[in-house]
């Protein structure tokens, strides 16, 4: 009985790992396309939109199957429930990466626009958070997950700084308004990816410790 369940969980692990790698690479692509002004890469990302959606459905189906057929409890139950949540977050991150690519193409329509320097800093941090939390998930590393939660506020600060620069830019060069608006959105997208990475970290902590840390002061400095 245990052996059958373990086999199913191994399969699920492989699925979610494959999806993690794919989403991480999409975010990487979206950031590179933006910072290196590479419209071909951005377009390729937009065209490949279905890949992660299919993976999400596979993971969800697998989870529902395990719940129905094996009725897992304790650590097994927490693992399946966490995977279902992380699955959602990964799918949302993938959507956001595609939105970033769409905004990026609109930014390129304004060849003279200079991107705020913080945007590259942000993209580095967000990618690092995502990589760290997905690695932590594989190693069940709660400490690393806590660090990811902490890093979220730095991204929030950078996002505010970009907004300030966008406002200034609009005052100085109103003719760039449309492109600047896209910059603001991209910055907001990066900030959302960091939020999803934080969600994943919180789910990981729950999975390991059985304690729901969401909305608790211990790991969030939002409130």
């Amino acid at each position: 009985m245990r052996i059958l369940l373990e086999r199913e969980i191994d399969r699920l692990k492989k699925l979610i790992l494959g999806m993690s790698a794919e989403v991480e690479s999409e975010v990487h692509t979206a950031c590179n396309a933006l910072l290196q002004r590479d419209d071909k890469t951005a377009q390729a990302l937009i065209d490949d939109v279905d890949k992660v959606d299919t993976m999400e459905l596979d993971v969800e189906e697998e989870c529902l199957k395990i719940l129905a057929l094996h009725q897992p409890v304790a650590a097994d139950l927490r693992y399946i429930v966490s995977v279902m949540k992380i699955n959602r977050d990964l799918e949302r991150i993938s959507d956001i990466a595609v939105h970033m690519a769409e905004r990026t193409l609109k930014i390129f329509a304004e060849p003279d626009l200079l991107l705020p320097a913080q945007l590259s800093d942000m993209s580095v941090r967000v990618q690092a958070m995502l990589k760290k939390v997905l690695d932590a998930f594989v190693r069940l590393d709660v400490e690393a997950a806590r660090n990811v939660c902490m890093a979220d506020s730095e991204v929030d600060t950078l996002n505010r700084e970009v907004l300030r620069q966008v406002k200034e830019g609009v005052l100085r060069k109103p003719e760039q308004f449309d492109a600047l608006l896209q910059v603001m959105h991209v910055s907001r997208h990066l900030e959302r990816i960091a939020d999803h990475a934080t969600n994943i970290a919180e789910d990981l902590i729950y999975m390991v410790e059985g304690r729901i840390v969401r909305h608790s002061p211990e790991v969030s400095d939002k409130g």
Binding site: M1, R2, V73, L77
Partner: protein, 255 residues
């Protein structure tokens, strides 16, 4: 133990030996009132032995020797001078195989009250009706009260055995694998009945079916090799047990 911390039965350093065999080891367990407490654990860990202690059924086993205390509403039932008939009326037992007496439905349910001195036919009829209502049998059996109990279906027989207990107005119902002889549908009915009964009675159930423990009980106690390893709110035990042995057992890693 529960939100308000009330306790109906508490065992303190309860030990039981069958001859040289040490079957219960320092069991400290608290059973909250008007809730369902389930006892789970691998075969031979002492579940039935512990359950039988709670109304001193082990007294009937010559080799069994018990030490420690078992407090029912704060009074030690192991103390000398405990009246056995009164104890077994207050704490009744339902067994794995339905065991109605080879008598009519009416005589089965009225048996206990008659033993306890109720001989008025009209009052007995009232008791039988309300005991059968409590277990959901009244509508089906009200015109068949003189039928032989052994002609009923297994589920009805098990309900009848519960009615027989309810008729003497007990406080605690002990159930040792009460559904293991029933099919899944009948099991569902009896689980539903247990939930209803828990509004008025304290129920302790031994079950091998972990999903049943998870479904019906408010508190779950896990035993292993004669020891009570962990006990707590069922949702905690099945989502985040404290002890590794509990986790290993409920996730099937044992042995």
């Amino acid at each position: 133990m529960t939100d308000n911390g009330q306790v109906k039965i508490r065992t303190e350093r309860l030990n039981l030996h069958y001859g040289a065999f040490h079957a219960l080891k320092d069991v400290d367990m608290a059973v909250p009132p008007r809730m369902i407490t389930s006892i789970i654990g691998p075969s031979g860990c002492g579940k039935s032995t512990l359950l039988r202690c709670l109304n001193r059924m082990n007294d009937l086993i010559g080799t069994a020797r018990v030490t420690g205390r078992i407090l029912l509403d704060g009074k030690d039932i192991l103390a000398g001078g405990t009246a056995m008939t009164s104890l077994r009326r207050r704490v009744g037992m339902v067994f794995q195989r339905p065991n109605p007496f080879p008598l009519s439905v009416f005589d089965n349910v009225s048996y206990g009250p008659r033993v306890h001195g109720e001989l008025d036919r009209r009052r007995l009829a009232g008791i039988v009706e309300s005991a059968l209502r409590a277990t959901g049998l009244w509508e089906t059996l009200k015109d068949r009260l003189n039928e032989h109990a052994l002609s009923l279906s297994p589920e009805q027989q098990q309900r009848l055995c519960i009615s027989r207990l309810v008729a003497v107005e007990p406080e605690v119902l002990l159930m040792d694998e009460p559904c293991s002889a029933l099919d899944p549908i009948a099991t569902g009915h009896v689980e539903d009945l247990m939930k209803n009964l828990a509004q008025n009675y304290t129920i302790v159930i031994v079950t091998h079916n972990m999903q049943q423990a998870a479904r019906v009980s408010d508190v779950t106690a896990f035993m292993y090799l004669g020891r009570l390893i962990e006990s707590g709110p069922t949702k905690d035990i099945f989502v985040k047990p404290k002890e590794k042995q509990t986790e290993d057992y409920i996730t099937g890693r044992f042995g």
